[in-house]
Amino acid sequence: MTGSTAKTTGGFGLPSRHVWAVAKVVGTVLMTFLGLLLVTFLIGRVVPIDPVLSVVGERASQETYEQVRREMGLHLPLWEQFFRYVLQVLRGELGKSVLTAHTVVDDIIRVFPATLELATMATFLGVVIGVPMGVVAAVNQGRWPDQLVRLLGLFGYSMPVFWLGLMGLLLFYGILGIAAAPGRLSFHNLDVVESWSGVILLDAALQGEWEVFFDALHHLILPAAVLGYFSLAYISRMTRSFMLEQLRQEYVTTARVKGLSEARVIWRHALGNVMVPLITVIALSYANLLEGSVLTETVFAWPGLGLYLTNSLLAADMNAVLGATLVVGMIFIGINLLSDLLYRLFDPRAR
């Protein structure tokens, strides 16, 4: 998978070396971040739309055109434009969205909680179901539970997420009528709850609006299950291979010889040791859900970052597209960094 931060093994001994290693990781992240900015900057430069024309309109005189061009800094050499762009981003300015007439930053702050809610619920489902599945597969290596988990995983790697979403809608909403329609809330529940965090489940619970809470949950469950299936495929596969590795270790034999119950050996001893590398896997799958959420949100009309990105794309709203891309990239790097640091924190060997 796409672990962008450096993998760390070893590094025994002095705490100063530990600090040095962390500093190195942070340095790498900063470099990557700069590269990220360079990529979005260059993408913004190859757009065939003339940014000046889109501001002044086609009828503007040559003078106005030149003036605006200067104001936008487009007469400067490329490296200087890039420098300005970096400063701008560091100040938290991503420009204005043509589509919504708000600043891109405001837009992203508004839509992000919806994606967070969806991705968190999906990861939760993926972990709660995927980890036990992986354990069962490893314990029954080569027998039918293992084959079943492998097949489910393969399907997960091969299925277009948007199609699975549509099939889910067709079956659970269209035919069985047990799932909610696309969207985040039913019509009559819109604007009942004040937006505090933007995460409706949380806001509704805090404000005691339980009807809204359950309505939101009802709307959330199908998209989260669709998205969660993909993290389940990944998490169960990784759990399986980690567990297989642990079950071969001598301490497992020792534990069995000591007369511990098989359940205790597997779920406490072996799984306990798998938890640390699993953190990295779960973090990675969480980050990967951002990608899946673009398509899932489109299918389920879920007003999050993914839907915002696709709507801006279709409207050729470049500020919004690049802003959202940058934010997604930053979250991706951030989660990678976080999982790396957590790994160091929990695994004594990495210290």
């Binding site: 590269g35 790697y157 091969s158 277009p160 997420v161 948007f162 067709l170 690049l322």
Partner: protein, 298 residues
């Protein structure tokens, strides 16, 4: 037949080509012994055949509209039914195989060599070349693939060529990583030193001696990646940024079918099944190839 088999399984090859033939035969036997791999191979072969013979296999034109024949259920007349313009979905799915194969092949022949070159150069020369090239690779890996492809397509404009370009731009970094790792393991071996002492240039060593050794793990990775490429391409098509109408592209077909999902289920379901099948085929084949060509990783 038996003579051929004995020749192919001989313990001591008599010539270089004989050794190659033995190697190929044994790999093939290992591949063919796994039914799932064979199924994957069959699906991929089917894709190629269907794409090549599309005009012969398709019962109707993929783009001819007939508004009197809209939304006919799958049946004898139209095996997969018809869509909102009365076009035969079976024919569109068959022609869609061409679009998919086109994308897959173009991405493979552009992204794989680029990744191979970047990785081997970084690994062989080391030092600054390594640092710069690998940082660049990390930057591309820092984006989720679909999102980066979306941003590229947004900049370049929608269309199938741009979709291919965008996917290729996001596909090469893992290849570079693999090629670099493989290069590092062979770089300091004796035969490379021998070639160097004979006065071969860096480029010659890379192209003639390092690249061939990296190829097998790269082929596995490319095959496994093709499933992802198909899904990304279909995702772009679904969002309206890939192949443009009236071209029969599976992702775009699902996208139109979405509007009629609850009334006419087949319009979205069937092209999606095609995407799923082909991508499953590449995954199965890639898994099998990995077991055969790269026993370390299994």
């Amino acid at each position: 037949m038996t003579a051929l088999r004995t020749w192919l399984t001989a313990d001591t090859p008599t010539s270089r080509n004989h050794a190659r033939a033995i190697q190929a035969y044994l790999s093939w036997r290992a591949l063919a012994s796994n039914p799932l791999t064979v199924m994957g191979l069959l699906i991929v072969v089917l894709l190629v055949v269907v794409a090549a013979l599309a005009p012969m296999l398709a019962p109707r034109s993929p783009i001819a509209q007939d508004l009197t024949q809209r939304f006919i259920e799958p049946g004898w007349q139209h095996w997969f039914g018809t869509d909102e313009f009365g076009r035969d979905i079976l024919s569109r799915v068959i022609y869609g195989a061409r679009v998919t194969l086109y994308i897959v092949v173009l991405v493979a022949v552009t992204a794989a060599p680029v990744g191979l070159l970047v990785g081997t150069v970084a690994g062989y020369f080391g030092g600054w070349a390594d640092v710069v090239l690998m940082r660049l690779t990390d930057v591309f890996l820092a984006f989720p693939r679909l999102i980066l492809a979306l941003a590229f397509v947004a900049a370049l404009g929608p269309g199938i060529e741009n979709a291919v370009l965008a996917i290729a731009l996001t596909a090469w970094p893992p290849y570079a990583r693999i090629a670099r790792a493989e290069t590092l393991t062979v770089r300091s071996s004796d035969f490379i030193a021998a070639v160097r002492l004979q006065g071969a240039s860096g480029l010659r060593i890379i192209l003639g001696h390092v690249v061939p050794l990296c190829s097998s793990s790269l082929i596995v990775r490319v095959t496994l990646d093709m499933a992802g490429v198909i899904l990304t391409a279909a995702g772009l098509g679904f969002l309206g940024l890939g192949a443009q109408p009236p071209l029969a592209e599976w992702g775009a077909m699902v996208s139109t079918g979405r509007r009629y999902l609850l009334d006419f289920w087949w319009v979205a379901t069937i092209p999606g099944l095609a995407i799923f099948t082909v991508s499953l085929g590449f995954n199965l084949l890639g898994d099998g190839l990995r077991d055969v060509l790269d026993p370390k990783s299994s």
